[in-house]
């Protein structure tokens, strides 16, 4: 009994992370279960050709195993669960995005190379000298089809769309009976399709290959079928596809098999293309134009939002920061309602108010709240002012109250006017206190997708751009359009490249902010 509870002293228990026996057992069970889960899931991911995700999962599992088995890693056990989520769902996606920015990932380049090769190799062609047959269709209850084929030399075969093939002799040996026309009455679940439905099933039969893949049979006309051959064969030595019919070599050009005269095979696969995406952003005139517009507006939008909300919030805080003011609490509660409403609701309400037909503002005065590039921007800034000023009011009120009163006393003694007091005392001290929050607000609005998307989907559209872009689009909503916009196709590599640009800008701002507030130094001091 005593020995059991003193497990922490035995060398074995120590090796397993230490602690009382029950906690050792619990820990081992947990690690075993988690590792089993990780190994199974990772293996499944590998089979689905998603190796990076599998590797990350295994690394996380390895870290968890080590941390829970080593006694000296005890403090990390508490952090590990949160850290695991952070690595899997935050750090890994961010790294993956950085990687994607250097690839041509996107429509036409979505699947892995091995899968793409397999798909291309499954294409077949009908050689000129192909053996031809007449055919009769069969179907099974599970929706698969089969053909009864009669060759010119009288040889007969039964071939299914699931890859089975039998000669007449084999069927006879299996005891299949034949009708007066000489075709099988039924083979397994397959029964003949009556002649009057023959044309109805033609579209379903046409894409299918019957019998085995290399020597399969395809329908070539409503009455005839022919033996096909594999059209493309991948040659790993040349890293190219060879057309068996014409002998043309399709070389691998940036993830697309391309013939010397520019013909391409679909699908392609993602490959690393270096800094091409970034180069396109900077040099392609069709991309650079809208990008400059969008980038400028992103900075103006975030900057003006911070400026307008801060000025209004500060003025109100100055006006209402009087201890003699009655109903102060009530005023505050009513005033900060916009801050308490979820932004997606507020923006939609304002969209209704600006609506030229039904809106309270738009029906009275509509300079083009959604159609004019200028006024759509003005509208967005008004909405964001409404959304953001209560926050600024709250933080500036808090900061105002923390400015020591004796500073003002001293200023009064020295004969400073109220105006001077504001410029020389209030504002500098206030900016020291709320400055980092203003920078935080700038960084937040830099990526404020909700307001842009819900107000007008980034519109009105900029005419003549190769990728969908609008005058009120900010970088993040533009990225979203590139990746998920549909219509003109997803260009995930380019979207990722713009994400990197945002990462760099927002990252630099935020890190500078941390430096300024000493948030990073705080760690070293408190150790």
């Amino acid at each position: 009994m005593a020995a059991l509870s003193m497990g922490r002293k035995s060398g074995f228990g120590e090796m397993l992370g230490g602690g009382p026996l029950t906690s050792i057992v619990l820990r081992l069970v947990f690690i075993a279960a988690f590792d089993a889960f990780a190994i199974f899931t990772g293996w499944q991911l590998l089979r689905g050709a998603v190796a990076p995700l599998a590797i990350v999962l295994w690394l996380v599992a390895l870290a968890i195993t080590v941390v829970f088995l080593r006694r000296d890693a005890m403090p990390l056990r508490w952090i590990m669960p949160g850290l695991a989520f952070m690595v899997m769902m935050h750090i890994y996606p961010v790294l993956f995005t950085i990687y994607t920015a250097f690839t041509n990932y996107g429509d036409g380049h979505l699947i892995e190379k091995t899968t793409a090769i397999r798909q291309i190799e499954s294409q077949v062609y009908l050689p000129a000298d192909a053996k031809t047959y007449t055919w009769l269709p069969y179907e099974a209850p599970d929706g698969s089809y089969a053909l009864w084929l009669t060759g010119e030399d009288g040889s007969q075969y039964f071939e299914t769309s699931t890859g089975e093939a039998y000669t007449r002799q084999e069927l006879e040996e299996q005891g299949v009976t034949f009708d007066s026309e000489g075709k099988p009455v039924a083979v397994g679940d397959y029964t003949p399709i009556p002649a009057n439905r023959r044309f109805a099933v033609l579209p379903a039969l046409q894409p299918l290959t019957f019998g085995n893949v290399e020597l399969g049979v395809k329908i070539t006309s409503p009455t005839r079928a022919g033996q096909v051959r594999q059209k493309y064969v991948y040659d790993p030595q040349q890293d190219a596809m060879i057309d068996q019919e014409t002998g043309v070599v399709y070389a691998n050009v940036q993830g697309t098999f391309t013939s010397p005269d520019g013909q391409t095979l679909i699908p392609g696969f993602p490959v690393i293309i270096g800094a091409d995406n970034f180069q396109r952003l900077l040099t392609s005139p069709a991309l650079r134009g809208p990008l400059v517009t969008i980038f400028t507006w992103t900075v103006v939008f975030a900057g003006m939002t911070v400026l307008t909300t801060f000025v209004l919030g500060l003025l109100l805080a100055l006006a209402l920061n009087d201890p003699n003011l009655p109903l102060r609490r009530t005023i505050r509660v009513l005033m900060i309602v916009p801050y308490a409403l979820p932004a997606f609701i507020s923006v939609l309400i304002w969209r209704g108010m600006f609506n030229p037909v039904i809106g309270v503002i738009g029906s009275q005065w509509d300079p083009g709240w959604f159609s004019s590039p200028i006024f759509a921007k003005v509208g967005i800034l008004i909405v964001n002012l409404w959304l953001g000023y209560p926050y600024m009011f709250l933080i500036t009120t808090g900061a105002l109250q923390s400015i020591p009163a004796d500073l003002y006393e001293a200023a009064k003694v020295d004969g400073a006017s109220g105006f001077q007091q504001f410029w020389r005392i209030t504002l500098p001290l206030l900016l020291v206190a709320v400055g980092p929050l203003l920078v935080g607000s700038f960084a937040f609005n830099f990526n404020n997708f909700t307001i842009i998307q819900l107000y007008n989907n980034g519109g009105p559209p900029i005419p003549g751009t190769p990728t969908p872009a609008g005058y009120t689009d900010i970088l993040i909503s533009y990225t979203y359009k590139l990746a998920f916009g549909g219509g003109r196709g997803a260009d995930l590599g380019l979207a990722a490249a713009i994400s990197i640009v945002i990462f760099v800008i927002v990252g630099a701002i935020t890190i500078a902010n941390f430096r300024y507030t000493g948030m990073l130094e705080e760690v070293s001091e408190s150790v």
Partner: protein, 296 residues
């Protein structure tokens, strides 16, 4: 003579003070009008039987609760479902966030170990790169997870929660660690001397003391998750799976002008959960807890 003069002075001082209060009240009134105008308007629209905006009357003619009834009952808008989805996703996310971060914060606050500093910094720096920018990668991850565990893939609430939990640590851990640091270490040392394990100390000694900050982080996370639009929109594709943010914007947005009064009723109901939570932590919001909760 001097008496009357000082009386006059007092009188003018009082007048000045009254004027001082008066203009401040006027400013306050204007601000409140600006803040509440859209809200009052949406309230008025929500009880309007016709889809139009009346500015002339606060209570429209033939005021009706039909819009609310239709939003909740009409199978064309699974609105109640959306609100429930939002509450479920936000509630579970917040619960996990509080759990994960309080564990981590306890360790950072109470133990001294080699990786402490680098980890604290990493957690903070990772926040610098918002995960919404990696939304494509997150989409692909869920696509692949969904092939193995459909309940955690695209168009699933648990998949969405997984994504939210990736951003759980960050500022929350810092906020909580700061709060944990203010609790005297003598308390847990006393527990250790009595033979308690760290787990016991955490759950029985520290946890009850940090409940207020846990509540604040729960509510802040809830409000933030409830209002998320981008991730929910990318990940949830089925009408019945939408959160209320996606549902209201996409579904109502299609024929916005015709459904303006319905939208208004929905907006009021959808705002209710966060509105209540917000006012519960109003005071904490002003006292500097706002660093990680920027909005607008």
């Amino acid at each position: 003579m001097s008496e009357t003069l000082s009386k006059k002075k007092v009188g003018s001082l009082q007048a000045q003070r009254r004027f001082n209060i008066a203009w401040r009240l006027v400013v306050a009134l204007l601000a409140i009008l600006f803040s509440l105008f859209p809200v009052v308007l949406i309230f008025s629209t929500s009880i309007n039987p016709v889809s139009q905006v009346t500015v002339t009357q606060l209570i429209p003619e033939n005021a009706t609760l039909n819009n609310f009834r239709r939003m909740l009952g009409d199978p064309q808008f699974p609105f109640a479902r959306w609100v429930w989805n939002s509450i479920k996703v936000s509630g579970l996310t917040s619960l996990f966030v509080v759990g994960l971060t309080s564990l981590a914060a306890f360790s950072f606050s109470r133990f001294r170990f080699r990786l402490r500093q680098p980890l604290l910094r990493t957690i903070l720096l990772v926040q610098v790169f918002p995960n919404i920018l990696a939304v494509t990668a997150l989409f692909l991850i869920l696509l692949n997870i969904g092939r193995i565990y459909p309940g955690f893939g695209l168009n699933s609430h648990f998949g969405l929660i997984l994504v939210y939990l990736g951003g759980a640590m960050g500022f929350n851990t810092w906020l909580m660690k700061g709060f944990f640091d203010t609790i005297p270490r003598e308390l847990d040392e006393a527990a250790y001397i009595d033979g308690a394990s760290s787990w016991y100390t955490f759950t029985r000694v520290i946890f009850p003391l940090v409940r207020p900050i846990l509540a604040v982080i729960f509510i802040l996370t809830f409000i933030g998750t409830y209002a998320d639009y981008l991730l929910a929109r990318v990940i949830l594709t089925d009408k019945n799976m939408y959160t209320v943010a996606v549902g209201l914007s996409l579904f109502i947005g299609e024929q916005y002008s015709q459904r303006w009064n319905l939208f208004a009723a929905g907006a009021l109901m959808a705002a209710l959960p966060t509105l209540i939570l917000f006012y519960l932590i109003q005071n904490q919001l002003q006292s500097g807890l706002t660093v990680g909760a920027v909005k607008g």
